[in-house]
Amino acid sequence: MKIHEYQAKEIFSRYKIPVTSETVCYTIDEAVEAAAKLGLPVVVKAQVLVGGRGKAGGVKLARTKEDVPEMAGKILGMDIKGYTVEKILIAQGVKFSSEFYVGLTIDRNSKSVIFMASIEGGVEIEEVAKENPDAIHKFVIDPDLGMTPFLARKIAFSLFTDFNLVKQGADLFQKLYRIFMDTDSSLVEINPLVITADGKLLALDGKMNFDDNALYRQSAIEALNEPTEDELKELDAKEKGLTYIRLDGSIGCMVNGAGLAMATLDLIKYFGGEPANFLDIGGSSNPQKVIDAMNLILSDKNVKVVMINIFGGITRCDDVARGLIIALEKIKVEVPIVVRLSGTNSKEGLEILKMANLPIVETMSEAAQKAIELCAKN
């Protein structure tokens, strides 16, 4: 789960990490009022849950009184990578010298939290990672020790020469680690962290992502969730025990297991088709799940054919077949369906489907090819 910059900075503030003075605004009038209170110049920043706002024109410096309504008007309602800007941040313009990057994330290889620090702040860190990976210092944090003062100092010394800044940095990094652990984050970033004209460290921007698996114990964080329309569908699916992700194609997919679902999408693409969704119905053959899954797939009007790919392991194919028959009796499906059942009790399952006159195939590859063929006809 992601939150907005202003929300991340509110959390930083609670831990006494210095951030810019700022106000969230939903209208041009609110923006004008906020700018008047803060004093010019101000930075107008789109608040969307996607990166690359600056490049998309979603961050502008307003120097004059007239700039504020003009820029706020331009940015509000703007589309950034499919996200509509519904709120903007009016932040006090700050004079600063250097820009740094600092961030915390989970490192799969060391199985630890790592701290990343770079003197190349203010630009997209992914770019730095690609072009100049040595410019990013990484520090593995021992889970038993946490962010010790000496480690925080070591990180600070990698960025600053002035001891006054080292002291401020070490303090800030320890707070940042506390935030990461307290909120079950998967990413906490300040980019850029700047040195103001009076020699103080300040978080000019903030980014936080969270571990979805831990939201059950982070109700305050979960309350900040603002799912998009597609994500609402995904959340709704999750409550029904399904994992759904909408894609752009026209072949609807119903698969058991995440890995097999991914491989199914790959196979459709391999044979020249375009999948409409990722849908993992999990390990159960409960007819209700099949009905829910079918409804979900068909809620996407681009779907022209449905491909069902079930590998029976613990899930028995005859159970799935029975579930499918019940599902098809309950809901009207106007697009063709291709079914592939394999594994445990597949013979019995296929018999049941045959009686219902459903087109069945033996292998994944055949199913994908048949679905593509039917899709082209429709």
Partner: protein, 289 residues
């Protein structure tokens, strides 16, 4: 021979009285696994499918000499269950539980390292040495005893691959589902080494997916340390960036962790990569010639 589990495995089931725990305890026992005990706090003295239930792992180990444990407890309790098994001296812990907070796993890792406990999972289907022991939720009937070692981040995709191998008469030494979470126990490198050292494993199948760089590291490891032939498959070639494809760890972030990079890494070190799952049996036949 095989790796990790065999006839000498004495299995303990944590969460044995739960719905999944009791169901799979029975299945594993029916397969022939030596299931010696179950643990369910407050239900000590009970029996599930003829398996004695204890209140603590320590009691179970003392009474039965259990040396491996499989965990079916709900995700919020899983990390503690792993620690309890480790503390009681269990050598191999398999965590099936799905949805475990990542930081919970980060926090248990140093203790497991200190105790020398091997962990598989969480969010994994477990493992099987066909004909010897099934420790997990894998469907035992699709496996065949043989000489191919298999490791995978996915469950059903593994079954799909195994089914194709078995249908082609290619048996398996051990198949390990390492799980789909970003922070997990035994991973490709450790398992590659175990299969390399196992005299009965003649070839290795590695099933990876998008996210992280474990496959790239595995490719490097294969080049440096593995002389047995390895065949790979990577799921998620068509996955959109930034979306979590069912598994918590299966996400392309900031353009890295893509299937293309992983396939390239394998091909660069001479590992054959199947473009579609049905190519796996033929590739194995080729490398075993």
């Amino acid at each position: 021979m095989s790796i990790l589990v065999n006839q000498n495995t004495k299995l303990l089931v944590q969460g044995v009285t739960g719905r999944d725990g009791s169901f799979h305890a029975g299945k594993m026992k029916a397969y022939g696994t030596n299931v010696v005990a179950g643990v369910s706090p407050g239900k000590g003295g009970m029996e599930v499918d003829g398996i004695p239930v204890f209140n603590t792992v320590e009691d179970a180990v003392k009474a039965t000499g259990a040396n491996a444990s499989i965990i079916f407890v709900p995700a919020p309790l899983a990390a503690d269950a792993v620690l309890e098994a480790s503390e009681a001296g269990i050598e191999l812990v398999i965590a099936i539980s799905e949805g475990v907070p990542t930081l919970d796993m980060v926090k248990v890792m140093p203790y497991l390292a200190k105790k020398g406990t091997k962990l598989i999972g969480p969010n994994c289907p477990g493992l099987i040495s066909p004909g010897e022991a099934l420790v997990g939720i894998l469907p035992g009937n699709i496996f065949l005893k043989g000489n191919v070692g298999l490791m995978s981040r996915s469950g059903t995709l593994t079954y799909e691959m195994v089914y194709q191998l078995t249908s082609n008469g290619i048996g398996q030494s051990t198949c390990v589902g390492i799980g789909g979470d970003p922070v997990a126990g035994l991973y490709y490198l450790e398992l590659l080494q175990m299969f390399q050292d196992d005299p009965d494993t003649k070839a290795i199948v590695l099933i990876g997916e998008i996210g992280g760089d474990a496959e790239e590291r595995a490719a490097q490891y294969i080049q440096d340390h593995v002389t047995k032939p390895v065949v790979a498959f990577i799921a998620g070639q068509s996955a959109p960036p930034g979306k979590r494809m069912g598994h918590a760890g299966a996400i392309i972030s900031s353009g890295s962790g893509t299937a293309e990079e992983k396939i390239k890494a394998f091909e660069n070190v001479g590992v054959k990569v199947a473009k579609i799952p049905s190519e796996i049996p033929d590739l194995i036949k080729q490398v075993l010639k």
